[in-house]
């Protein structure tokens, strides 16, 4: 097993009702598989997972990327700074 820390921001944090969460995942899980798992485990977030942006260790990550051990994974909507 592998451990990752999830961080939620903006609309996604509001829907999740939490800022962060540590979860255990299989040794080789992709970003897409993580999104599927979150959709299943947290039905509130199912819709958000369709347009979510994901970063892994502070770099944008895409569906096929495999999560490294102890990754910091952030989930958030398109950014709106400025």
């Amino acid at each position: 097993m592998n451990k990752v820390k999830l961080l939620f921001f903006a609309t996604i944090r509001d829907r999740a009702g939490m800022k962060s969460l540590e979860i255990e995942i299989p040794e080789t899980m992709t970003v897409q598989e993580l999104k599927d798992k979150i959709s299943t485990d947290y039905p509130n977030l199912k819709q958000s997972m369709e347009s979510v942006l994901i970063s892994v260790n502070k770099e944008y990550a895409f569906d096929e990327a495999v999560l490294p051990p102890n990754a910091e994974v952030a989930l958030f909507p398109p950014v709106s700074g400025g």
């Binding site: 502070k58 944008y60 909507p77 398109p78 950014v79 709106s80």
Partner: protein, 161 residues
């Protein structure tokens, strides 16, 4: 090149333009282009799907948040992109203020210095704010007479960004 000043930060403090400009001014720089964004109290822009708006409406304040360590890393990336595109640029400052910000308050600053004004400093500052709004993880929630809602962006970063 290693000594060229590059400032990138997320802060809860007031933006001090005088201080930021001084920090990126060198004996060799004669021109600075600075962009700042301010909170608007009245706006005509179209709303999001979450909160469709027809006419002008009022904003009481905005609340900004950031994923700070990633935001600062992405600001550094924007600065690196500016240096790659405009090698004449000498100093760069990219600062986003977060927290509860009221109308007329400066929220963000992008500044570039160079020897002269015809070196790309204006284009570089423009590029900087465009890129900040695309890839730097910052979000804002608007509070007004019609309630509160997240202002959502549109840009989807591509691999390598």
């Amino acid at each position: 090149m290693a000594s060229l000043p590059t400032i990138f930060s997320i802060t809860e403090s007031e933006l001090d333009l005088n201080d930021l400009l001084a920090q990126i001014t060198l004996p060799s720089t004669g021109a600075a282009a600075i962009f700042t964004g301010m909170v608007r109290g009245e706006t005509l822009r179209h709303g999001s799907a979450q909160a469709p708006r027809d006419g002008p409406h009022e904003t009481a304040y905005l609340e900004y948040e950031a994923y700070v360590p990633m935001a600062e890393a992405k600001m550094k990336q924007v600065a690196d992109e500016i240096r790659a595109k405009w090698p004449s640029v000498e100093g760069i400052a990219i600062v986003q203020r977060i927290g509860k910000l009221y109308p007329r308050t400066p929220t963000v600053l992008i500044a570039c210095t160079a020897a002269h004004r015809d070196t790309g400093v204006f284009e570089a500052a423009r590029y900087g704010i465009d890129r900040l709004k695309e890839i730097v993880p910052i979000w804002k929630k608007e509070f007004g007479p019609n309630g509160e809602f997240w202002v959502e962006g549109e840009y989807i970063p591509k691999p390598g960004e």
